[in-house]
Amino acid sequence: MGQKNLPMREALRRALLEEMRRDEKIFVMGEEVGYWQGTHRVTRGFIDEFGEKRVRDTPISEMAIAGVAVGAAMAGLRPVAEMMTINFAFLAFDAIINHAAKIRYMFDGQFTVPLVIRAASGWGDQATASHSHTPEPIFAHFPGLYVGCPATPADAYGMLKASIRDDNPVLFTESIALYSRPGPVPDDEDYLVPIGKSDVKREGQHVTLVAYARGVDWALQAANDLAKEGIECEVVDLRWLRPLDLEPVYESFKKTNRCVVVEESLPHFSFGSEIAAQLQENAFDYMDAPIKRVTAADVPLPFAKEIELMALPNKDKVIQAVREVL
């Protein structure tokens, strides 16, 4: 199979474009998805190819973007709704949680909700507190929803396609910091990354690094540096926060007996908390050191670049945490 080197935003665009060409029930809706060409250019050119019927510019109405998409999905369409950024998804929290995630269960299977809500996520561009959220773990709290968070262009491509083809609602986040990062993407319109399947991005025997989305990037950077001094990290990219596939984490942990969790999100009641809890419940006998969490600082994000960067995780913080568990 051939492959192309594409930035993540282009991998996402291709995935969405190909799926829309394949199935007329798929349409996109959101703020600036049409004539503006998408705030993050993921829907660039779509309005020309598909027209206003399938590329629907919406008012700044997140409750209705999510809620109308849920209704359309219940009725048999396959909406891909865009939240310009995940920060604005808080306005749509009710529609996503109380409706998208629960309708199937509340009516005991009478309705399906084949819906994807895409949202750009992340921080680090002095976007300040209200525009710098990474709340993926909050959404992953709720049964009925899937949560996908790709770290590479290939995963972005295959995960978005899998999300669109699935009959369940998926919250799909795209790291703003990774949009322009290139990587190989398979030349295969049916390339799907199975929902709820994690991936070992690097093998190693000394420490297990567990991450998703941008955390994978920091983990791999740290692993490269540590390898130079003979410390081999295994990097497990969970890819999906729900369903959560921890088997590769357990397998790795049984070998390394040490674990550092790396995430862009906040520390309290977090992804890292969940991984640590599951490891101690399910692999306690293999544990040789406390599980460390590298997260954002427990503050709202400030504007000034100097202190904003202090709040973010980075490669050095991961290296420091690895040294602490060795």
């Binding site: 349409f27 019927k53 629907r56 919406t58 008012p59 109405s61 409750m63 209705a64 999510a66 809620g67 109308v68 998409a69 849920v70 209704g71 359309a72 999905a73 219940m74 009725a75 048999g76 369409l77 909406p79 009710d94 529609a95 109380n98 409706h99 309708i103 199937r104 269960y105 509340m106 009516f107 005991d108 299977g109 009478q110 309705f111 399906t112 909700v113 084949p114 049964p143 009925g144 699935d166 009959d167 369940n168």
Partner: protein
Amino acid sequence: MPNKETLLEWYRQMTLIRQFEEKCHALYWDKRITGVYMHLYSGHEAIGVGAVAALREDDHAITSYRDHGIALARGIDPKPLMAEMMGKKTGISGGKGGSMHLASREHNFWGGYAIVAGHLPLAAGIALESRYNDKDAVVLCLLGDGASNNGYFHEALNMSAIWDLPVIWLIENNGYGMGTAVHRVSGQPELHKKAVAYGMKDLGCVDGQQVLEVYEAVSEAVAYARERGPVMLEAVTYRYSGHGVSDRQYNTRLEDELRDWLENKDPNKLFCQYLQSKYKGIDEQLHQLDLAMHALVEEAVEYAESQPAPTYDDLFTNVYA
């Protein structure tokens, strides 16, 4: 003008709803129906029956948590509805939804929803599918007065307007959002006028106690929605049993007001009087319908109580497709 047979069918439905609701109320206080939430439709019958009668079978209906009456008006068997009240496996929602989450996909009844105004964007989305696939089906979205003050109302109505979605926004104004009177919480107490803000057709206000008036107004709204786009209509009514069944204060607090509506403006009583004056000698037929609906509700209760509860396995089904 609907014929005699149709009018009698409406009478049958209104009677069934009232009997069903009164039975639910009694069963609740008898602890044969458990749970905290149950919002009865008694007093609103003319709206549900008149509005649903204006729909075709392939049109859609969706409503709030005060949903029993719409489910019955859509022709759903009272047995699985009553079984749902009791949380039984054979309830219409498998015992997982309860009183507030009745739905039947095959009846194009898309459900009752328990977040005030949360179903409004769903209605717009269902209507979008109709337009998208070049169908001419419309969506009847019933909502309470309280929902008209919620953010969902603004966003869903606006989106329905810009996309010309075939939705009939029918406000059932029963005077109170829980315990708070409409004029205290809505800057525009003439709720139908809110349509103007969205450039939407405002069909005004109708007497929600007169089933024929509701039917005629909603028929006009349906025709408009089918041809053009969204339309708003308000129907003024009154709620007999408090916000929910557990609301004990309500009836004593507003005793005089309630008595006036019950004695002078009850929709079932008014319709009965109308039929009696229009068709001489119809009394016996009406009486037989009353008895038949009483028996139907009793059968539903007997059925529901004989049904099994969901099992541990059911707990985990239908979380995902």
